[in-house]
């Protein structure tokens, strides 16, 4: 790892000014991806601004039909939160499936979505639930937040402070995990909301996406059989040593069906 300056942020405002003052500053959340990338010298920031001590970024708040989760809330805390388990159990379940136990103790919601790994779990949860990403300067709809592989709508220096999740009527996340990495080979988040059914897919393409054919079928009838026979176009899907594009396309329908089964259970 190359040397860098380490700065501890006391607040969001303090982090903002420290990032602005750095030549090539990066925010450090849980570091479960960033530190690994720095060890491989894939990333070499001049300054790391650690958000670990910023209390205002942590915690779950239950409000009017929604949950607001601070950006620095760890996956373990989301998975174990009584509020999340009661209001959006599918989201607690998703958080509990990220990485492994040790990674979940360090990794954070904000860090995960800012990194936007194409096989990460949270992007499916945010898009599936129609969440809103709150930053130090604006609110961004999840549908507009994840713009490409490892790319987001965040501007340089913009800091995610929280995510607001509307509480759905019911929802579930079904993940076909890579047996070694536990990243999603294909993960499907299905939510039945007042505005219809949302189906968000991670792991299958370069970035999380929704599948309108599945959404339309499930909005008509929210049962597993509703998606039978809906073929997903493999064009543009990921293909690697773990799974080809056709297999991933097939898994999207399979995991959607499983998610609906769980949501209805």
């Amino acid at each position: 790892m190359y040397a860098f300056n380490y700065l501890k942020a006391q607040s969001v405002a303090d982090a903002k000014s420290k990032v602005a003052a750095a030549t090539d500053g990066k925010l450090l959340a849980g570091g479960q991806t960033l530190i690994a990338a720095m060890k491989l010298r894939l990333a070499a920031p001049s300054d790391l601004i650690d958000l670990g001590g910023v209390a205002e970024l942590r915690g779950v708040k239950a409000g009017n039909g929604e949950l607001t989760i601070g950006a620095m809330t760890t996956h373990a805390d989301v998975a174990g939160s009584a509020d999340v388990k009661r209001r959006i159990p599918a989201l607690a379940d998703l958080a509990g499936q990220i990485g492994d136990r040790m990674v979940r103790h360090m990794g954070t919601l904000g860090g995960s979505i800012a990194n936007n790994d194409p096989a990460a779990d949270y992007p499916a949860g945010l898009v599936g639930l129609g969440a809103a990403v709150v930053t130090d300067r604006r609110t961004i709809d999840a549908d507009a937040f994840f713009t490409g592989m490892y790319e987001t709508a965040l501007e340089p220096g913009e800091i995610i402070t929280a995510v607001r999740f509307p509480v759905p009527q019911r929802a579930a996340y079904a993940k076909f995990a890579n047996p070694a990495s536990r990243y999603a080979l294909v993960g499907v988040f299905v939510a039945q909301t007042s505005g219809g059914v949302r189906v968000a897919v991670t792991g299958a393409g370069p970035v999380v996406f929704r599948v309108s054919a599945l959404e339309a079928a499930l909005t008509k009838r929210f049962v597993p059989e509703a998606v039978e026979g809906i073929a997903i176009d493999a064009n543009g899907l990921n293909a690697d040593m773990h799974a080809g594009a056709e297999y991933r396309a097939h898994l999207i329908t399979v995991m959607t069906r499983r998610a609906v089964e769980v949501a209805n259970a």
């Binding site: 790892m1 450090l28 479960q32 690994a36 060890k39 492994d100 136990r101 040790m102 360090m106």
Partner: protein
């Protein structure tokens, strides 16, 4: 350039000057000479470097030492009794042959203790889930799972 770091390691206050890029595992092994915490893959996959920070298991090869500032770190050296009597979880690994080469064992024990802290009587399925981030290339895991189950029982005072 170094910066001052203070934290607690196995109950002892520790102060040191470290480079910010020092990994927690390197600080524990090279600065404190506590070499029970192992480096296996060095890519946060194998869990041989597992320690507790404020009571939670983390992979110390994937964390900066400065991220542990003002926090309490427990390593494998910190769990046996002062007279050297093994912790019940360590004893269970020995009694149930939960290791062969032993390289992964400190991480396995620290992860097992983290699990038992939240679930004093875990099922075998829960044990396997909780050890998802710890790789063993010798045992095939069967005896590790048996050892964790027995260790948990011993910790709650039954045999």
């Amino acid at each position: 350039m170094t910066i001052p770091l203070s934290l607690t390691v196995n109950g002892q206050a520790v102060r040191a000057d470290v480079e910010p890029r020092t990994l927690l595992v390197d600080f524990i092994r090279d600065h404190l000479r506590l070499t029970g915490t192992h480096i296996g893959c060095d890519t946060a996959q194998c869990g041989a470097c597992t320690v507790h920070v404020d009571g939670q298991a983390v992979k110390s090869c994937n964390m900066l030492a400065v991220q542990a500032a003002d926090r309490a770190v427990t390593t494998i050296e910190g769990i046996a009794a002062a007279d050297g009597t093994l912790h019940p979880m360590q004893a269970a690994f020995r009694d149930h042959h939960g290791l062969q080469c032993g390289y992964c064992t400190p991480g396995m024990v620290m992860s097992a203790l983290d699990l038992v802290a939240s679930d004093p009587a875990p099922s075998r399925e829960r044990i396997r889930e909780a050890l998802d981030g710890n790789l063993c290339r010798c045992t095939g895991y069967q005896n590790i799972v048996v050892a964790v189950e027995a260790g948990a029982r011993a910790m709650s005072g039954e045999r």
